[in-house]
Symmetry: C2
Subunit: 897 residues, 2 copies
């Protein structure tokens, strides 16, 4: 178990902040427009305490209160859980100030003051420590509240909640004991929900709660509010070191704190009649970003009533008519807070008997569209500069802008949840085979392809479908990778999906879905819905373009794309890609005319036969490359030579094998035998990548020829081209040298044949851990490195991305890992290896170009990591290019800070 | 392409050696019992030149000659391939000395001198550079030789060979041109072999060779021996930088040499009548090591006649009678050379007209038995000390002593070759299933189990068989690992093996072998023979024990064993194991009574059901551990918790699944479904090791309980026990902590239950690359590390050991890698990671115990590496323990040097 860690730095800061006061001060007051602390005193007052002071000093009407410093918490522990001398006096003194400020008194039934007692450390630890609300209630005060609010039910319910919370938090009475009574009462009176209980029911519950309290603690429930208060303060101190909080600090590496502050703040009530009310508001429209005051409120209500949805809140405009003075005041605070915090604010307010209180303000959550618009507006309004604007939009959010979305207001029937493998929204009829998907799509039917998992043979069908749903495979499974490349919605690894191909149906979430039924997928959430849900197409506006331009201005690291076709290349270029970082050649082999030649190549028994088959593939590959080079005119294109094991190109099922036998004019036995021979226990670690290139050099020679001939051919047409030939899966210098030498021979031969040249480079992927370890050697010959972080992560962790979903789910739930390392680079382990590789490589070749082409290349945190280790570029699927551009700019701006 | 690298050190050394002479000396003479150089002048004279000087100075009658220094070679290249001034004069001067010493003259038909011209650099580069023999022959001299030898055929054959060699080596005439003429002549006269050609035939060939020479070079074949000599010297200089030699130096990292020396030495002939002869001899018996002079010779013969096997050589004893003076002289040289080189010598000698010449001496190759005996004898004779004796035996050779062997004299019919997966020799009847093997073995039949590959289900059958033969899988495949553990002979990965289980036969090397036919396996060579070959059982003598005792005295690193049963543990302990470094618990689950409970556990749908099944396994495991702890009384035992994926415990074939369904009382569908669910794309990177322990904590909890209860139980019987609980496949600290915490809870509970304690430790395997990268973190909690280099190598290279054989074969042939990294640790890549991990781990925990339990733990080079990086112990299969002990001692002694 971790123990409390305090750092020198934390203590020094506290002392400095405390020193400013002439004598040691334990308690800081805020209220009536003045506070004794300010925002930069977080170490001493905690985040919440410092912010309450800050707002108070701004003239915002925050309910008054006081903060007991973090230093007191430290002393409390050092002093064997006793208060330091003088603390009690200071608390009583500040309580008196508070009572005066609020015109109410703790325990006074005529002017009752209720307070909240909350924790608040210098670093936010949401939900980890304890809170007590409604403190001050007792059998006497509850009567006063009834009179004040004219709401007997509310008063008893508040009292009941207070006893439960106090009993649980302060005295350690298991809350099940209270829940049990509540449940019994509901059963007794036939109430389905808490709100069906009457005032009398609640009053009876209070009676029973008090008994429970006594049974468990041996004492009566304290009627003295001061006793309540002191006990609650100690409970908050105690919660600083509860196992949950310790674990949270350990997991989040929160160190150097000396304790929590305790905030005692008066509670205000919006349910004290028709001059009271409560509401939430945004300083701008959080959905569109428009600069209009936006919000809703309820008269004579508590905050929870707004959430509960029993009464319909009114739009803020109505308040202008209902309470014009209050409204005007609110608008003033809105302006003040937005000006002060220089961001769109999400505020909670309560009106108690005509007096407006602001309970909380924070930067408001917003849609991507709003985020971009607000940031641009702020720049136009000269509130922030471009740099700040770039930092204001979460890169991942941009996905919303680039893909179709469902209308969030439409009710959907969710039947399953899987991995959000490729963002976007799609509806279509269910089909179970790629062929069927193609067939129906040709007729204009929208389809969703549902498969156990997909394989390269399914690509055409995936392309024809609106979206893809798989039962197996992770975020970097075939389905996920290909779908992201296509910008197509995909939900993967839905383990509860039971597909019955024979019956042409699947079961999930109690539903049975048959071929032809409509379903809808949200690829951003990983959710599957029954039926058709309307989608909205994405629209990119001028503010988006502006934001992207700023991003490009401030980022240092390049952004390329992973694209295998001219179409993908064009899409990516439109999104701002500065080249292709990964062009996979194998996908090109699956189309009808190619797969036959590819299979002839695989079945060939001699080098001659293999070369003959490769001869058929050469012109096809050359044409593909020409198209890509033209689309990327002026930009570099990295082409990876054949990577997957050959068995991926052969059919695994009996039926398809027979078909193939017929087409190729050989016996099915020949094919079965070849499939058997190529079968591997662990194909990921098998005969693939440069290992194929070395055992069958003629394959890579054909590919190099296709690349260079294509480059020369488009060059003649005026296209500027710089092919980068990339050898995959290299683990030793000699593998690379062997293939580089052969490639150079082919290239020189072509240059001689064509009497023309073109600039090119030859580099390698770093995806086998060993490559990173011996990067200094490999860089002697390799002109560039591209980190294949999918494989590198697989091998460094020993996690097969196709199989790991089963236990990664557990790992995430148990917090064994914080994030799926296939989504975001594991900077501690895999990242260390990457850093070593870059440093070693550049030691040998100082100008070594280094990029990343793994899936994580489009993940903002990973982009930031790649920026920090000095990579030249990241490469990601076309639809993630804008995300990467923004993330790169933010990384660069944050690094400067 | 690599370029010539010369290091400062090399040059300095040459200058120093050259400086000893007052004037720059290009040529060094040796002959007549005196030489101008000595053994330590290798840099200047090359290895061969320096040794010829050394032997001459010892008074050994070496044929006289002279050496042109490596410095001349350097000058030759610097001087645009011209001789330095003065060289020609020095050569002529030394030639004259040589002629005088030999009483013969170059080109003199009455007293013809023939010489050899050979390369010789400071570091041996066998076969990489050029040699010319019989130089000095021309149309005139050949007649003199005929007279001298009275052997016309020999004279013409020598001349023919000289023309061919000179033409090829010196003038670059393709040797195919010569071979073509030879072949045509043989066809013409109906000769099957060269030796069937008559003197006349050879004379005619000489005529044709000369024509070829002229056709290709445009010159007549040179008749002037001086011209021959000078050209040959230049050819040797030229060969220093031929592509073969450059590549060899690059691959072997030979740097710092400035060139080759050239040795011109007189040739002597053993075929000059009945007072001439030739032979080879060993200073001691190379087979038994006995101190007797051993060898054979032929009168009136050339060296090649001894090898050709046409005439049967006579044992050396006969020479004693035939030529007593020569024999006595030879015995004197034998003693002198053995004394000087302090090792058993293998000498070649020639008697020319009654005069004895020693052509070569070197340390003699010997059997393991002889190596041990000779080393021990030398210590007894005070020739060497114990340290040197330990260094004299090759650790790998010991395998011969520990396993049965075939009589090397028996002729065998080899039908296939695979990997030498587990050493030893075995004969038996072919069976194709493990069950059948068990059945027949019970009846006393000796069987060889032949399988495509083996799986854990086959273990009992493997144990029953004499040897195992598989068609697939590498040196660390299941078959190989298990066989080595059992000390059983195994040949694995014989790719040419075509097994037909249905027909119960296999085909290989043109033979068809049916069930019941006898075959024999040599597991040390990886060879398969037809029929029964007699084997000899190993016998360990006192000298072996002595050698092992010395090894233990000088080694620093501990040697443990990988053992899963009490029997294996006993065997290993007998061989000197100091504990168990790896006890795999999974093998324990395969026996009949256990597999059912194991399968119940796997089929369990709830934690309760799983715990019930585990409850059945607990007493069984406990008994197993008790047996092992007793066998290892006083020594540490590292137990690895369950590692393999669960599907390994379920039958994959329909038939076995049905059987299992019957036994378990469930439907076959249930089993099929479970097998399907557990099926993985890459099981090596899947749900196994600690990942299983985390998803099903109750499995490891049961195992920890079994280990600790067993330890307490044997402790009560007076056994000293220290269990080390090892968690496999850890990649992150949190995985380890999660499982350690749970284990501690179980252990504390047992201690409380039993009111007794036992010392133990909890550590982890380092086998996932990430574990080595974050070893500093993991060492915070782990008390020991054990490197699982099988998995670590798999993941660091990205090579599946079950699949890599296909391309590793190519890799070795193409010299992409020098060695199979699964046999010997890849020190550059995997080793770097290991070193990092040890250093990082010890930074956190300075006394961290580190070992290795991968297959390489028994490989001498890997033992040396483990010693150099400061490991505490290596662990290997029982039969490799003596090898590891000796290798460890050598590593330690070499490190001291």
């Amino acid at each position: 178990m971790a123990t409390l860690v305090t750092s020198k730095k934390g203590r020094t800061e506290v002392k400095k902040q405390a020193k400013k006061q002439s004598k040691k001060k334990f308690v800081y007051f805020f209220g009536n427009g003045k506070a004794e602390g300010k925002a930069d005193m977080k170490q001493l007052l905690g985040g919440k305490g410092a912010n309450l002071c800050e707002m108070t000093n701004l003239g915002i009407p925050v309910p008054a209160g006081f903060t007991i410093t973090t230093e007191v918490c430290d002393l409390y522990y050092k002093n064997n859980k006793n208060w330091p001398a003088g603390l009690e006096g200071e608390i009583r003194e500040h309580l008196a100030r508070l009572e005066k400020a609020m015109g109410a008194k703790l325990g006074d039934r005529n002017a009752p003051l209720l307070v909240s007692v909350r924790s608040g450390a210098a670093v936010s630890m949401p939900g980890m420590m304890d809170t007590v609300l409604n403190l001050g209630l007792n059998s006497d005060v509850v009567q006063g509240i009834i009179i004040k609010t004219e709401n007997e039910r509310f008063a008893w319910d508040s009292y009941r909640r207070f006893i439960q919370m106090f009993g649980d938090v302060v005295m350690g009475v298991e809350h099940e004991a209270f829940e049990h009574i509540l449940a019994a009462k509901k059963k007794q009176v036939g109430a389905l929900q808490d709100m069906n209980l009457s005032a009398a029911d609640l009053k009876d519950i209070v009676r029973q709660y008090k008994k429970i309290y006594k049974d468990h603690t041996g004492e009566e429930f304290p009627q003295d509010p001061i006793e309540q208060l002191f006990k609650a303060i100690n409970a908050v101190f105690g919660s600083w070191n509860n196992p949950r909080a310790l674990k949270y600090r350990e997991l989040n590496s929160i160190k150097g704190l000396i304790g929590t502050a305790v905030n005692v703040q008066s509670m205000v009530f919006g349910n004290m009649g028709e001059t009271s009310g409560t509401g939430v508001c945004f300083s701008r429209d959080p959905s569109t970003g428009e600069n209009v005051f936006y919000g809703e409120y309820l008269i004579n209500a508590q905050g929870e009533d707004v959430v509960a949805g029993i009464r319909t809140p009114k739009p803020l405009g109505v308040l202008k008519k209902d309470m014009p003075v209050v409204y005007k005041e609110l608008v003033g605070y809105r302006d003040k807070l937005e000006d002060h915090y220089r961001d769109m604010q999400d505020m909670e307010f309560t009106i108690q008997e005509g007096k407006l209180y602001i309970l909380q303000t924070r930067s408001g959550k917003r849609t991507a569209k709003a985020a971009v618009r607000i940031a641009c507006d702020f720049v136009r309004e000269k509130v922030i500069n471009e740099r700040e604007a770039v930092l204001r939009v979460q890169p991942k959010q941009l996905d919303q802008l680039l893909h179709p979305t469902f209308d969030p207001k439409v009710k959907k029937k969710k039947i399953a949840k899987g991995l959000p493998a490729s963002p976007g929204a799609a509806s279509g009829e269910v089909v179970f085979t790629a062929e069927h998907a193609e067939e129906l799509a040709k007729k204009g039917t929208k389809v969703i392809l549902v498969r156990e998992e997909t394989s390269p043979e399914d690509i055409a069908g995936m392309n024809a479908a609106q979206g893809i749903l798989t039962a197996r495979g992770g975020m970097t499974s075939h389905a996920a990778v290909v779908a992201r490349g296509m910008g197509k919605c995909c939900v993967a690894g839905v383990s509860e999906l039971e597909i019955d191909y024979d019956q042409k149906l699947f079961k999930a979430g109690g539903a049975e879905v048959r071929e032809g039924d409509w379903i809808s997928l949200d690829g951003s959430l990983g959710e599957v819905y029954l039926g058709q849900v309307k989608t909205a197409e994405p629209q990119l506006d001028q503010d988006f373009d502006r934001m992207m331009k700023w991003a490009d201005k401030y980022r240092k690291i390049g952004v390329r794309t992973n694209a295998d076709t001219p179409h993908d290349a064009q899409v990516a270029r439109k999104f701002g890609a500065e080249g292709i970082g990964l062009c996979r050649t194998e996908h090109m082999f699956f189309e009808a005319d190619r797969i036959i030649a590819m299979r002839e190549m695989i079945l060939a028994e001699t080098t001659e036969d293999r070369e003959k088959a490769l001869g058929k593939l050469l012109p096809i590959q050359r044409r593909d490359f020409e198209g890509i080079f033209v689309a990327m005119d002026g930009l570099p294109v990295t082409v990876r030579l054949l990577d997957p094991p050959l068995h991926e190109f052969l059919p695994q099922e009996e039926e398809s094998q027979q078909e193939m036998a017929k087409v190729m004019g050989v016996s099915c036995e020949v094919i079965r035998h070849k499939v058997h021979l190529l079968n591997e226990f662990n194909p990921m670690l098998g005969h693939r990548g440069c290992r194929l290139g070395i055992t069958y050099p003629e394959i890579y020679e054909m590919q190099v020829r296709a690349i260079v001939e294509a480059a020369l051919s488009v060059k003649r047409k005026g296209v500027t081209v710089h092919p980068e030939i990339m050898i995959p899966l290299v683990g030793t210098l000699r593998e690379f040298t062997f293939l580089k030498e052969r490639s150079l021979k082919v290239i020189e031969q072509i240059f001689a044949e064509k009497k023309d040249k073109v600039s090119y480079s030859i580099g390698t992927m770093i995806e086998v851990p060993r490559a990173a370890l011996v990067a200094d050697e490999i860089a002697r010959e390799a002109e560039f490195f591209s980190y294949g972080t999918n494989d590198l992560t697989q091998m460094t962790y020993g996690f097969s991305r196709d199989d790991a979903a089963v236990f990664l789910e557990h790992y995430l739930a148990l917090e064994i890992i914080d994030r799926d390392p296939f989504q975001s680079i594991d900077t501690v382990g895999v990242g260390k290896l990457m850093k070593m590789g870059i440093e070693a490589g550049r030691k040998t070749r100082p100008n070594l170009k280094v990029g990343i082409c793994g899936e994580q290349g489009g993940d903002p945190d990973s982009v930031s990591f790649c920026n920090s280790v000095g990579m030249n570029y990241v490469s990601c699927s076309p639809y993630r290019v804008p995300i990467a551009r923004l993330a790169a700019a933010q990384a660069s701006l944050r690094q400067k800070k």
